[in-house]
């Protein structure tokens, strides 16, 4: 199959970018979106042009490195799917596909489709951890965790930090990401000591980094490759407000 792409090309952080049209041939329905970009890049290299830069690593939907805006939807049209797991059979060869980088002030474009997402690391540093005594690993059963609590924590812990929530949010907010971390750690017994301070500190870091505020539009959950539920945000709000009440 042959596809037409309109890809964002930008040579560096401070250069001006633009959408450039390409056609790619020999695309099979079973290729992933990234494999399709690989085919394009091989051709560009043979022609002496610079390949389209994009982030990727595991290509099995678990690392969170990949992620582009495809026709205005983060990670493309399939729900709960990363760009690397998205197959070309979902695209109509007759329609050009627009490919853009994540757009948010805290995610500056590095080159083409690659953005710098280290702002999310700054949010993690502000509180995405628990304090535990070092030494021998504790017994796996030493701290009992009720099954529903473990399930809630696990559901939130599935966040791979890809940044799709920020890209999709009309407010450019990283709320779903932060809320996933706050939920993952905040519902478990091991996360209790820092629970409220964690929520307050991570939110403050997010605000300070220039992310927008959440208005609960639900755009984030809709594109999240791991389907992190919107309820995590309610939990974050709860813990932040509780922290304020307790003067933290």
């Amino acid at each position: 199959m042959r596809y037409t792409l309109r890809v964002w090309r930008q040579s560096g952080p401070s250069s001006r970018g633009q959408l450039v049209e390409y056609t790619v041939d020999d695309i099979s329905a079973d290729m992933s979106f990234l494999e399709m970009l690989d085919v394009l890049n091989e051709r560009l290299l043979l022609e002496g042009e610079s390949p389209v830069a994009f982030d990727h690593d595991c290509r099995e939907g678990i690392c969170g490195a990949c992620g582009v805006m495809i026709d205005g939807v983060a990670h493309g049209p399939e729900r709960a799917t990363t760009t690397c797991q998205l197959h070309m059979r979902h695209f109509d060869p007759a329609k050009p596909i627009v490919v853009e980088p994540w757009r948010a002030a805290p995610f500056p474009v590095v080159r083409d489709l690659v953005v710098d997402r280290s702002a999310l690391d700054r949010v993690i540093e502000a509180g995405g951890y628990i304090s535990a005594p070092t030494g021998a690993a504790p017994d796996a059963h030493a701290v009992p965790v009720p099954k529903p609590v473990a399930d809630t924590a696990f559901e939130a812990a599935a966040c791979i930090g890809c940044g799709a929530c920020v890209a999709a949010c009309p407010n450019g907010s990283s709320m779903l990401f932060t809320a996933a971390k706050v939920t993952h750690l905040g519902v478990l017994p091991q996360g209790q000591p820092e629970r409220h301070a964690r929520a307050a500190d991570m939110l403050r870091a997010q605000d300070d980094l220039g992310f927008g505020g959440c208005t609960l539009t639900g755009e984030c959950t809709a594109v999240c490759p791991k389907g992190i539920p919107l309820e995590t945000i309610s939990r974050l709000n709860h813990d932040v407000l509780a922290a304020a009440m307790m003067g933290q």
Binding site: D71, E100, R103, A105, N171, G213, T215, E231, S234, M245
Partner: protein, 225 residues
């Protein structure tokens, strides 16, 4: 604590949720009070006097009305200030927009909160000049509530203005009620569907209740005779 809260995006949303809740309570009471129009001139005009006489020994004649106005004004100012600040922050957070953006997944109500709020705010100004101050009312006599209302809704354009505003308010409340509970950390996955339905029912009830008066007058079900 208050300053700290106001400094954070979550704190501003909490302020919006609480002030929005105050406004919601007022709107429900106001809508219910309006229905007295159907009980006749004495009923609605008497209700106006009753509100002014209520607690008059303590607050003076009309004192309660002024207390309510103060609370509402404070709520609207806080609500709007937070909304404007959050909208500005959102704009700064996405300086470059996308080339294509299909119809987003969220609800129409969620997407129109900002412009819907502006419509409601402009309407409130017009509404106060119309039925409170009377300067924009075709009859405009203080205390003659029934006559003022009937004079208003003889005109299709007045009915249209009220319809646009009340429908906008209905959409605003549908997302607002649901969103407010989450902003206060009271949302849960288990209750999400029930809360969404309740928000819809309340919003539709308020919209229909408010619109019943203008349309009853327009179609002659309520008149001066």
């Amino acid at each position: 604590m208050a300053g700290r809260l106001w400094a954070s995006t979550v704190g501003k949303k909490a302020v919006m949720a609480v002030t929005g809740g105050v406004l919601l309570l007022y709107v429900v009471a106001h809508m219910a009070g309006n229905l007295k129009v159907f009980a006749g001139r004495e009923s609605i005009d008497g209700y106006g006097v009753f509100l002014r006489e209520f607690l008059a020994p303590v607050l003076g004649y009309g004192g309660l009305v002024w207390v309510i106005r103060a609370v509402l004004s404070l709520s609207v100012i806080l609500h709007m200030t937070a909304a404007v600040q959050l909208a500005r922050r959102a704009k700064r957070a996405r300086p470059v927009s996308y080339a294509t953006r299909p119809k987003v997944n969220g609800s129409y109500a969620a997407r129109t909160m900002r412009w819907g709020g502006v419509i409601v705010a402009l309407f409130v100004v017009y509404h106060v000049l119309d039925l409170t101050a009377g300067v924009l009312n075709p009859h405009g006599v203080e205390g003659e509530i029934h006559a003022n209302v009937v004079a208003d809704f003889q005109h299709w354009y007045v009915v249209l203005a009220y319809t646009v505003a009340v429908v906008a308010l209905g959409f605003h409340l549908r997302h607002g009620i649901w969103s407010a509970l989450r902003s206060l950390g009271l949302g849960s996955a288990r209750r999400a569907a029930a809360v969404k339905t309740a928000a819809l029912v309340v919003s539709v009830a308020i919209t229909v209740g408010f619109l019943s008066v203008p349309y009853a007058v327009l179609f002659g079900l309520v008149s001066d005779q």
